[in-house]
Amino acid sequence: MNDLRERVFIITPAAIWETEVDVHYGWWLPPNIGGDNAQGVDRLIYVVHFFMAVLFVGWGALFAYCLVRFRDRTGISAAYEEIKAKPSKYAEIGVIVFEVFLLVALSMPIWASVKTKIPTGSDVVTVRCVAEQFAWNFHYAGKDGEFGTTKATLVGTENPLGIDRSDPKAKDDIAVINTLHIPINKPVVIRGTSKDVIHSFFIPVLRAKSDLIPGMTVPIWFEAKKTGTFDIQCAQLCGNNHFKMKGQLFVDSSENFSKWLDEQAASAGGEEEEEE
């Protein structure tokens, strides 16, 4: 594939087809491994594009017909009187009605779920995400389920999140860079912020996106229905290495996720001893 891409200075139809069938992410929506909200996003995208296609084709057909039928021909003169266009009124009312339907039935309920129905409860996995130029820092609460305090003054290369390890709640906290592990089929809440400029946390396969803005914390929640490794992208220009600000999402089975947490807890504890 790669050498093919290098070669296609001249684009051939063959190259186009090969690219499409060969890769995981294609020319249309990427695979959707998300829960109801992610499905709702796709549903609206499909319905609204169908609506757009109907409008464009209908409108385009009339346009093309006019261009041919009313071309300049000798002996034919233009009509001064306005035509009475009832159908155009109906079309416009149709557009309004359909837009209200899109808004009320397909867009607002999903958005309300994304923004206000943030899951709570014992099975929810909460992860803090602090973006920086040009990395994603993920902060897990560890066994006690409580996040330790963080301080801007403690931030350094060894401690990018500025976790205050003297806080008892922080003892078992886990900090990782650019890798987000989550368990399958469980609601996950990301509490996102940024320490420098605005970034945007975007996981295409989960149809999840939100800006991470310094000075505010924004909740992002989703469920993953398939295991695997996927990209976390930055969607907001954040500086010269914006293009390299890539994270990896690991959707693990429940057992693998617990195993990973244990490994991380062990290595975090080890680090702490060294520090002391």
């Binding site: 996003v41 609206l44 757009m52 233009a78 001064y80 149809r207 505010m216 914006h242």
Partner: protein, 592 residues
Amino acid sequence: MAESHAHHAHEPQDAHGHGGDHGHGHPELPFWRKYIFSIDHKVIGVQYAVSALVFLFFGFCLMALMRYQLAYPSTPLNFLNGIFGERRWQSGFMTPDFYNELGAMHGTIMVFLAIVPVLVGGFGNFVLPLQIGAPDMAFPKLNMMSYWVYVPGGLIMLASFFTQQGAAASGWTAYAPLSVIAKNGETLWLLGMVFLITSSLLGSINFIVTVAHMRARGLSMFRLPFFVWAQLVTSFLLLLAFPPLEAAAVLQLMDRVAGTSFFLPSGLVVSGSALQVAGGGNPLLWQHLFWFLAHPEVYVLILPALGIVSEVIANNIRKPLWGYRTLVYSTIFLGFMSFVVWAHHMFMTGMGTTMSTFFQATTMIISIPSVIILTCLLLSLWGARIRYTVPMLFALAFLPMFGIGGLTGLPLGLTTSDIHLHDTYYVIGHFHYVVAPGTIFAVFAGIYYWFPKVTGRKLNDFLGKLHFWPSLIFINMVFMPMFFQGMAGVSRRLYDQTQYHSGSGVHTLTQISSWGAWLLGLAQLPFIYNFFASIFVGQKVSDNPWNATTLEWAAPSPPPHGNFAAEPVVHRGPYEYSVPGAAQDFSPQHIA
């Protein structure tokens, strides 16, 4: 045709003879007063249009360079090392910093130095006073000042490329805090913006007063050509939307140079060390102020284009426009609504349900007048006798292209589908369809249409068609793939898309887009040649070569200083074509 000429046959000689009649200047103005620091709206219009077209070409070149990096991120171009220097081009590759500079400046130049100046400063200045039968703008000196404030704004922007730290690189939107902690180019960008905004404000006041006070006798508001209405509404948008951005630009300038923190929250840590600033500000404040301008600005980019297209279509269908008053009311409604949709650019900033409900509802509402305007223009074709002149080809192509641009705004205006599409190439495709094959095609339509009025000569038809067809094909080749890239989830403003699976999956599309852009550049060669050659050797034509009805065609070509020998009196509406019982298929506004 013969009649209209008989009426004005004596004009050119007379008007040259005693320009003093109108209380304007003196006939023996020195060169620099006549062509450089001119107060004549036509000279200023041409100055604006030519400067803007140069900037348009320059902005295009920046993008053509970026398109190489996007299409061939791993194929070096070593010969450019020496040309661009170490900071911008290293061992055959553009640096990411330079890529971001090109991106930010492409957007800024296209919007603020090319499209707005050519539409308002260029076409508005040249055509509007002629269309309302006025001898000049209401404030000729303010008009001159407007242009000469625009020039330093442009020069500052250009100069920033040559400073040691390079030009602004935080996107044309200059989001804080990135823009506040950015290198010095950003300061120059802000200074340049203050000049450009001031220039637009001066122009907008002038247009409003001119339309209000200087219309010819008999030219009531509902006899105005639609182009004048579009310019009038545009001027109100500029007047009301630009001051907040001017204030915001000054605030950001203070954040950069005076240590204030309007847009910086407390506790920022940049590159591992705490930023020594007062803090307590809010990055979202910048976005609200910016988009409060920049959404009306979108309509500043569209409405004059709709005005041009309506003039060209009305002239070439040889019948009145369908629903003239509907067009006018829709345009006014668009103008109002454009002030209450701005936050749809900010759906991903953690906005809750209350605000997003309001803004997605207003966004759906604003699509209605746009649909009505397009419908009016489409229904105008019914029963027409369409002349396929070169300006008409561009004007007709505008309709479906603008249609695609408008329709693809729907999934972005609905918060739920915006979750996936926001800040992807889908957005780039969407607004470029509005502004590039939309507005820029309207600009070309206007150039081909009014060139005979400016020069007395016509642009060559064959070269015009050689310009039109390849441009139409290649511009779609540039922007159509972007919708698919956006669907695939490719983020905007990436120096190398292939870093992500979403980008490498559609890399072929990126290459198609790039080739489209380069071929589109080639397709402009016939136009550039045609433009310059026709000034000198173009076919000489009469004062009203298109058999048009509006007042600008009642003036000689080129119109002398003061425009009309005697003030024209208007007897009818703007688009009286094929009136039953009339001797010819057009009834000019000024002939009784």
